[in-house]
Structures are given as C-alpha cells and as structure tokens.
Amino acid sequence: MNETAAGRQSTSAESAPAREPVIEVRNLETYFGDRHILKDVSFDVLRGEIFVILGGSGSGKSTLLRHIIGLLRPSGGSIKIFGHETVDIGEEEWEKLRRRMGVLYQGGALFNSMSVGDNVALPLREFTDLPEATIGIQVRLKLGLVDLAGFERLRPDQLSGGMKKRAGLARAIAMDPQVLFFDEPSAGLDPIAGAGLDELILRLRATFGMTIVVVTHEMESVKKIADRVLMLFKGEAVAVGRLDEVMKNPHLRVQQFFHRQADEEKVDPRQYLDYLTAGGRREL
C-alpha cells in the first residue's frame, strides 16, 4: 500500500467507531508467472460494515476476492478471517470457515440441475440435521427475503438475470453467514434491477448485521451502499477509507475513476511499434 492509502486508512480508523476487524489483509502479493498482479495490498474489513473493493478492469479486484474466499492462494502476505490465518490452512479448515461465509457470484452460480428451492436448501441439507419440513420453511423464508417467494419450484433457466442473482443471494444467506461477499452484483443488470439489489444489500445488513464485502466498478452502487472503500489500480491499493474521504484523495487514478475521466496518457509511437512487431511478447 502506498503512503496515501496508508494515511487514508489511519484517518478512517480514527474517525470510525472502534469495531473489530473481521478480515485483515496484510502485504498481499500475487504473481501469475512473471506478471505482478497484486502489489503489497493491506486493509481491514470491520464487523458490520459494507466494504467495497473498487477498481477498473484488470486492477486485480476479482483476484483479491478469490484470495479472501480461499479459491486462490496468494504468493505472499497474510489474510486473517475471524482471526484465523487462511493463507496456509488446509482444505478441511477452509471448509469450516466457509460455512460462516456466503458468496454471491456474478451470474448467481445456481445449479441448473436443481430447482431454485433445492439450490437454497442444499447447504441446509448438507450441513444441518434439520427435518425436511423445517428446511422447507427456511427456504421459503430466505426466498421471501429476496422477493422470490413462490419461485422455489422453478428451475434456474426459467429466471431472469436479476432473479437468478437474488436466488443466488438466498442460497448465500441460507446458513446465516457472518460475512457476505458480492462479486460485481450489478453487472449485466438494468438500472432498476441493479438498484433493487443495492436495496437488498442494505436491507440484509440492517436486518442481520452482516459484514458485507462488495467487488464492483459501478459508481452509482458504490455511492449508495459503501461505508468504506478500497481503490485498486494495477494491483496497488491507491486509497482506503470512508467513501467521502477516498473521493477527496488527490491520486490521479482515483480522481479519474470517480469523475469518469478518460485516460489522457499518450502512447509513445516507437514503443507501440515495438509492441506490434514483438507479436504480443512485450508489454505496451
């Protein structure tokens, strides 16, 4: 993390009420071959907050999310969830930790071979000894929470994009997780459906007090839901803190991002010619 970001984080920590961190990321490094994807990223996610990871395409925000939820091991650094170091734990420990977490993927990631109700019931059937009648009540309750009451018999391919995401959300909260992750929740949705999902995120936090981590680049959504944000640019955390603080951050990329300004960087013609003749082996 650069000095600006570190400064922002400490400023935010001073101004925010003292809450324990649920996720602690320190000096995270990721390499894919010789490509440096995440560079010394550090931040905390506090209990009960909505924390948004922001950044343009290729900034490393999805990679960061995959590290936090344990789908990808980082090259270096530390990630603690509920106080447990997760970088070097085994699969069995991860499985236990994941039962306290819920993830909503971009497309909902519902299992097409099952009905919507069976998708939501799956974690309950696998991890609890609840009788079928109680599972049925839980399924209807969770689907009701995401405004999909009565849809349990439909198959995922009979739902619209927004409904799939809400059904995916019902499955993600089936086990009442303490932390909920959203990967690009508004991607592919019309503005009304996107706004509906934002409302749902706020309602879930208000109802269950969940800690919520959202990866997105949708500014309208960020302004509506974020308590604090982390801004990534080319794998570096350029700003961390409350949204209003980060929006005032003088970093060029932060200002470009929040004010929707195009990149004015000119490409050197000689460098561009080298790139073309190297057959893609050289970076621009």
């Binding site: 994941r98 993927y105 990631a109």
Partner: protein
C-alpha cells in the same frame, strides 16, 4: 539460431505441460481415493452421495442399454459371418460358436461398451463440469464448503465403474445372441449345438476378466471426463475442445489399458 531456440523452448514448454498434467491427474486420483475410501469414515457429513450415484448410474447405464445392446448384437452377427467364412475352409464350422463367444466376452464386449460409454457419458461429464466451471458453479460449491471432488466427481466415477461392467454383461449376451442368430439362420448350424459349444468355449473366468477390464475402463473414462471438465479454459469454445479431447483421450487410454490387460492375461495363461 532463433528457429532452433524457439523449437527448444516449445519442447521445454510441452515437457513442463506434460509434468503438470501428470501431477494434476495424480492429485485428482488421490483426491478421489480420499473421498471414496477415507473421508466417509474419518469425517462427519463426508459420505458418498448415493442419490447422485444412482442418478448418474441411470444416465450412464440404463439410458445406454438400447445403443449398447444393438451395436453388440450387430457386431456378434458380423463376428459369426467373418469366422464362418474362414472356418468353412477348414471344415470346422461349429467353431464359429467358440470364436464368437471368446471374442465377445474377452474383447469385443468390454471394448465396444467402453467406446460407446466414452462417446456418450465421458464427453457429457466434461461438458457438464466444464460448463459448471464457466458459470462459477464449481467455485460456488467450494465457497459453500462442499468439496467439488466429493460432490461432482466421486459419484460419477463410482456410477461409471458400476454401470460399465453391467452394460458389458448385456453386451456379452447380445453379442452371443447375434452370433447364434447368424449361425442358425445363415450358416445352418443347430441351435443346441451352437449353445453347447458356446458353453464349452467360455468359462466364468473369461466373463470375469471382461468385467474386471470394463470396471477399469469405466474408471478411466470417468476420470478423464471429469479431469478435462475441471480444467476447461476458454469459454464455450474451450468446453467444446475439451469435450472432443475427452472422447479421444478416453478411447486411446481404454485401448492402451486393454493391451496391458490382454498381455497380462496371455502371460498368466
């Protein structure tokens, strides 16, 4: 010389890729063995998902019965005609029954069944798991705390290893039946004579050898199908490519395994 350097680099990359594939397949086999034999006794809520095994078994076995029996029936008829045209020259037409029975139970039944299943179900495994991976469903399983090997792969491997030998039994029966039909209608052999020669030619050992082979063939087809599904990359085109590879690699490995089995049985005879 840049051409030589590039060729060496390509060779090096291919060798490293081969090492990666062997390591990944070994890891997958270890994982399957763990979730099949160890986890059900060592861990809570880690048993085999039998309802999924049955569902897969129906798709692999029951649904494949018509095509398997039909193809083996025709191949049994072809074997009878071919061996009759040869054995007639030596005045040994009755040996048609022996030729059909032995070739069907030892080789053709297990091999043809495996090839059909590789084309029908092995490719379906790759396409299903590959599409699930593309739609982040495999990641969703992991993040729910459900191990994808236990959830997706073990039921398929188990169902395949059970369904393929059962299909092979049906294939053996239909192959012999096809041979009998040709023998009694075209070659003019007596029905009872043919059946008695068939019973004399094969013993339980021949059938068991065929079934042992088909159980291994089932394991190979399921492992290849699932491995290529899990390693799909490149969207819909990647799923298509991996599905094709699944059939080609499965058939190659099944025939190679058959060669090893045949050589082994020849030596112990």
């Amino acid at each position: 010389m840049p051409g030589r350097e590039e060729a060496l680099a390509a060779l090096g990359r291919a060798a490293l890729h081969a090492v990666d594939v062997v390591r990944d397949v070994w890891a997958l086999l270890r994982d399957i063995a763990f979730w099949l034999f160890i986890a059900p006794w060592k861990r809570q809520r880690a048993g085999v998902r039998w309802e999924s095994v049955i569902e897969q078994g129906v798709r692999i076995g029951w649904d494949a019965i018509p095509i398997v029996v039909l193809i083996n029936f025709f191949v049994g008829m072809i074997s009878a005609l071919q061996s009759a045209s040869l054995l007639k020259r030596f005045g040994q037409l009755l040996l048609v029954a022996n030729a059909v029975a032995l070739s069907t139970t030892r080789e053709l039944g297990p091999l043809l069944t495996a090839v059909i299943v590789a084309g029908r179900s092995g490719s379906a495994f790759t396409a299903e798991i590959g599409s699930m991976k593309m739609a982040e469903e495999v990641d969703a399983l992991s993040t729910m705390g459900l191990n994808p090997t236990r959830f997706l792969i073990v039921p398929r491997v188990l169902a395949m290893s059970i369904a393929v030998p059962l299909l092979t039994l049906a294939a053996d029966f239909m192959g012999i039946f096809g041979g009998w039909l040709i023998a009694v209608t075209v070659v003019d052999l007596g029905s009872w004579q043919y059946l008695r020669h068939t019973a004399d030619a094969i013993d339980m050992g021949d059938v068991m050898r065929g079934l042992t082979k088909s159980c291994v063939f089932g394991g190979i087809i399921a492992t290849v199908g699932c491995y290529l599904g899990v390693h799909v990359e490149g969207g819909a085109e990647g799923v298509g490519r991996s599905t094709t590879n699944s059939v080609v690699v499965s058939i190659f490995l099944v025939i190679f395994a058959n060669l090893i089995f045949t050589a082994f049985f020849y030596m112990i005879e």
